[in-house]
């Protein structure tokens, strides 16, 4: 088990290097000159040349990448072209907001998705199943910004149960939870729908296995047959979907943070892209990609915990 984790951690190194290289290259090949953004419209040719010299933009691309990456491994993501602020700092201030939103959303998505999928499978071909199927279809098709706006109108403006915008308190306080709930539902609904579909089909697949019949033949209570014998097996494919969705959620925070005016990495990224703030965009994308990869590692570990056949390989 520990060996598996260490091995997977080592496999992360080339993966993350590859990701950082692709992010680095693609931003440098994109049109738009950071020097002219920094210098502004009044800058002379000489000004621009000296800015480029300062930033090292005249060095070969590979040298630039190498300089960048050696900073990254020390936790230094460089300085913003725009604000001269440390990128690491700018991201770290906002990261907790984004992370909390993503976690809250994946919790909402998992609870609703697994619950609905399970009920749907057990009550296969009943009106409850049909309702859940329609709900899932709606959940996948409704755009986040629209759902977010509707939720704000209903629950924040009309009924005033929850605040309309902003995150000011930590999520373990009541106020913090209230602030997170609407954004989390907004962001988590699409994933809930996908998780529900996956859970439904996984449960239907597992429920007809011989070992479920064995459990019933032993006289195990139906509740344990479903929650223990069936779900423990059905969760194996569902966990993959949850892991993947966590990645999508991280991307989805960009829009949700915008709708709910949450000061997170997503908003930072939008500003940085608009300003051609290379280093800021690089830092944010690298962070999101790293998280995505780490979540995948977590999924693999969970796999091994649930399924002994993997653990012993």
């Amino acid at each position: 088990m520990a060996g598996l984790i260490v091995r997977r951690l080592f496999q992360l190194i080339p993966l993350l290097l590859g990701i950082s290289f692709i992010v680095f290259i693609s931003l440098h090949l994109a049109p738009g000159d950071p020097a002219s953004m920094i210098g502004g419209p009044t800058a002379t040719r000489e000004d621009l040349a000296s800015i480029r010299e300062d930033l090292g933009l005249n060095d070969p691309l590979f040298t630039q990448y190498f300089r960048y990456i050696s900073g990254v491994v020390q936790g230094d993501l460089g300085y913003s072209y725009q604000t001269k602020q440390s990128v690491t700092e700018a991201i770290m201030i906002r990261f907790p907001n984004t992370f909390n939103l993503a976690i809250a959303s994946i919790i909402v998505a998992t609870v609703i998705g697994v619950g609905a999928g399970m009920i749907s499978a057990i009550k296969q071909n009943t009106s409850l199943d049909a309702l859940s199927t329609i709900g899932a279809l709606a959940g996948i098709s409704i755009p986040n910004f629209w759902l977010g706006s509707v939720l704000i109108l209903l629950f924040a403006v009309n009924w005033q149960w929850f605040p309309a915008a902003g995150v000011t308190q930590p999520p373990w306080t009541l106020q913090g939870m209230k602030e997170l709930i609407l954004p989390a539902i907004t962001l988590g609904t699409g994933s809930a729908a996908l998780i529900a579909r996956m859970t439904r089909s996984a449960v239907l697949e597992v429920i007809r296995q011989d070992y479920i019949r064995t459990a019933r033949a032993k006289g195990v209570k139906e509740k344990s047959v479903i929650l223990l014998h069936c779900m423990r097996n059905a969760m194996i494919p569902v966990i993959t979907v949850i892991g993947l969705n966590f990645g999508f959620l991280l991307g989805g925070t960009i829009i949700t943070e915008q709708v709910f005016a949450i000061n997170g990495v997503g908003r930072l990224m939008i500003q940085a892209i608009a300003n051609r703030d290379y280093t800021m965009v690089q830092g944010a994308v690298l962070l999101v990609a790293t998280l995505f990869v780490l979540v995948n590692l977590l999924v693999d570990i969970l796999y091994a915990l649930i399924d002994p056949r993997i653990r012993y390989e």
Binding site: Y211, A217, V220, H229
Partner: protein, 332 residues
């Protein structure tokens, strides 16, 4: 009078399909007596598993059962879900054909073995553990302490079937139903598993319903035999009578298709043709298209049950003349 543990009367099982109702078991009646091995034999698809699942209350949702299954003074078909659950794995246990897939891959052998002990006998974790180790020992699993911690994929097919047997016996059932328990196993392992079941039967005095399609298994294990064809019981006899004086042409066919180790000149003969498709409308005896002795009457009229002598019944017109039971009381 012998002492029946289980009595099945007029069992009918129908599947609700897209194309209407499909009968799977039609009017099966039989008893299992204390301490005996009743073999149910017949080709695949003739309704053996569905009959046994009816007893367990484990029929698929699309199936509907009618008739009576009497056990311990109660009619199992009329119990609610909770009542039948308390009987399953406790008074009546079942083991299945596929040891490779019958155990849950994500739980240890120990967990799966302790489960019925905790559910039915209210043992503590510790007591259940000790009892489980004893059970593994009893079914001939070496190093039971270590096996408790292992997962099913670490065990061979024969070992898994032994674990299944241990699970089935954990609450000392009065009746064990074994549905083709050796079909998926190697020949040498087959013999060991059958021997184990017979030995445990002797030790505990339980009754056994052993389902098989193999007449060789019947010869080695049965006290009494039920031959099923297309959802009906077509012959019932004690094992000696069945082998020495089979009445139904289907039984004779099954016996001819059995390899004979004592006689080199013997030629194996499979029964020609196949089972009628489920739900296929047929007139007369369901076996007549494959029957070497079929008469005109067989094509028109479905035979009732005839009694040759007490305990030996068959469902064939050929048996009519020697019918002992002129009242025509139907047994199946």
């Amino acid at each position: 009078m012998k002492d029946p543990v289980l009595t099945v009367e007029g069992l009918e099982v129908r599947f609700q399909g897209a194309a209407g109702e499909i009968p799977a078991v039609q009017g099966a009646s039989f008893s299992v007596h204390r301490g005996e091995v009743l073999c149910i034999v017949g080709e695949s698809g003739c309704g053996k598993s569905i009959t046994s699942l009816s007893v367990m209350g484990l029929l698929p949702g699309s199936a509907e059962a009618e008739g009576h299954i009497r056990f311990d003074g109660r009619d199992l078909l009329r119990l609610n879900r909770e009542e039948i659950r308390q009987i399953r794995g406790n008074d009546i246990s079942m083991i299945f054909q596929e040891p490779m897939t019958s155990l849950n891959p994500v739980f240890t052998v120990g967990f799966q073995l302790m489960e019925p002990l905790v559910v039915h006998r209210n043992l503590s974790k510790k007591q259940a553990f000790e009892e489980a180790v004893r059970l593994l020992e009893r079914v001939g699993i070496p190093d039971p302490g270590r096996r408790m911690e292992q997962y099913p994929h670490e065990l061979s097919g024969g070992m898994r079937q032994r674990v299944m047997i241990a699970i089935a016996l954990s609450c000392e059932p009065k009746l064990l139903i074994a549905d083709e328990p050796t079909t998926a196993l190697d020949v040498t392992i087959q013999a060991q598993i059958l021997e184990l079941i017979l030995k445990l039967k002797e030790d505990t005095g339980m009754s056994v319903i052993l389902i098989t399609h193999d007449m060789g298994v019947v010869a080695e294990t049965a006290d009494r035999v039920l031959v099923m064809y297309a959802g009906k019981v077509v012959e019932e006899a004690d094992v000696r009578t069945l082998f020495e004086d089979p009445k139904h042409p289907y039984t004779k066919g099954l016996l001819r298709s059995m390899p004979n180790v004592d006689d080199d000149t013997y030629t194996l003969e499979a029964i020609p043709g196949t089972l009628p498709k489920p739900g296929e409308i047929q007139q007369g005896c369901p076996f007549h298209p494959r029957c070497p002795e079929a008469m005109d009457r067989c094509r028109e009229e479905n035979p009732r049950v005839f009694t040759h002598r007490p305990g030996h019944m068959s469902r064939c017109w050929l048996a009519e003349e020697e019918d002992q039971d002129h009242a025509g009381e139907s047994v199946g």
